[in-house]
Symmetry: C2
Subunit: 160 residues, 2 copies
């Protein structure tokens, strides 16, 4: 038996663990560390994983998902994520993280330059994690570009 205090402490620890798994995922991309990124995703025997990069179609299954990150890493000289608005909604075994990815990235250097041009990008993500014996692992990542400031004004056209 656990008391209400223990339950609150457990819930806080769970949320912290999920936030840490979320941060570790982005740090793996920042470092171009495909091994760490591979470890961040659920094994395929558990559940079929899926991934949507901003502007991309859906990628399904570990093989296709990890291949996409290898491609992105090969074409990215520099990428940094400044995460804001991180929100966690969770049950015992599944956690849903929403966050804003303020991205600064640069492609490979062009001839004679030391680094490609840096580009800022505003992306929002929904990341779904599952609890496993090895910690929280990604089941789904869906990132999408924020194309306009909507949802705040009353007089906008929300279908545009």
């Amino acid at each position: 038996m656990t008391g209400a205090g223990d339950e609150h402490a457990d819930a806080a620890a769970d949320i912290a663990a999920v936030e840490q798994a979320n941060t570790a995922y982005y740090e793996a991309v920042e470092r171009g560390d495909l091994d760490a990124l591979t470890a961040a995703w659920l094994p395929d025997e558990e559940l079929t994983v899926s991934c949507v990069h901003p502007g991309w179609p859906v990628l399904s299954g570990r093989r296709e998902v990890l291949r996409s990150y290898a491609l992105i890493m090969a074409n990215t000289e520099y990428i940094q994520f400044f995460l804001t608005d991180v929100g966690v909604s969770m049950t015992a075994d599944t956690a849903l993280v929403t966050c804003t990815e303020n991205i600064l990235s640069g492609g490979p250097a062009e001839e004679g330059a030391s680094l490609g041009p840096l580009v800022g990008q505003l992306v929002v993500a929904t990341n779904v994690f599952r609890r496993t014996p090895d910690g929280w692992k990604l089941w789904s990542h869906h990132g999408s570009p924020v194309l306009a400031e909507t949802g705040e004004e009353e007089d906008e056209d929300p279908t545009s």
Copy 2:
């Protein structure tokens, strides 16, 4: 005790129920039926729901999410979803649906016209459902525009 045959039948029935909940969500939007749409989402006391419309920032909580649909419905005279590539990945209580929304929509009529211009849109969605006593309910919807055909060719720039 249930046999392996029963388990497979149960799994197939669960997947069918999830697909039906997913279809019911889109049909509610098509009909502009805010009551049916409200019923498609998890009650807030359960978990915090979240929603990303294509190009939008994250909306969190039932109030903000349902308000966005009311706005979209008010600005949409006609909308139809042709769902393709529907994939379901699920545990006992959580289901993750990915699909392509081939959207045909039209805004309110301009003066003198009977219907606004129809627009085709290619959107991919990740929809997360939770099992409840009242059936499968939406925990999260994330839709995003497909901006380019990527992920198939080897020589593309996947960060663009």
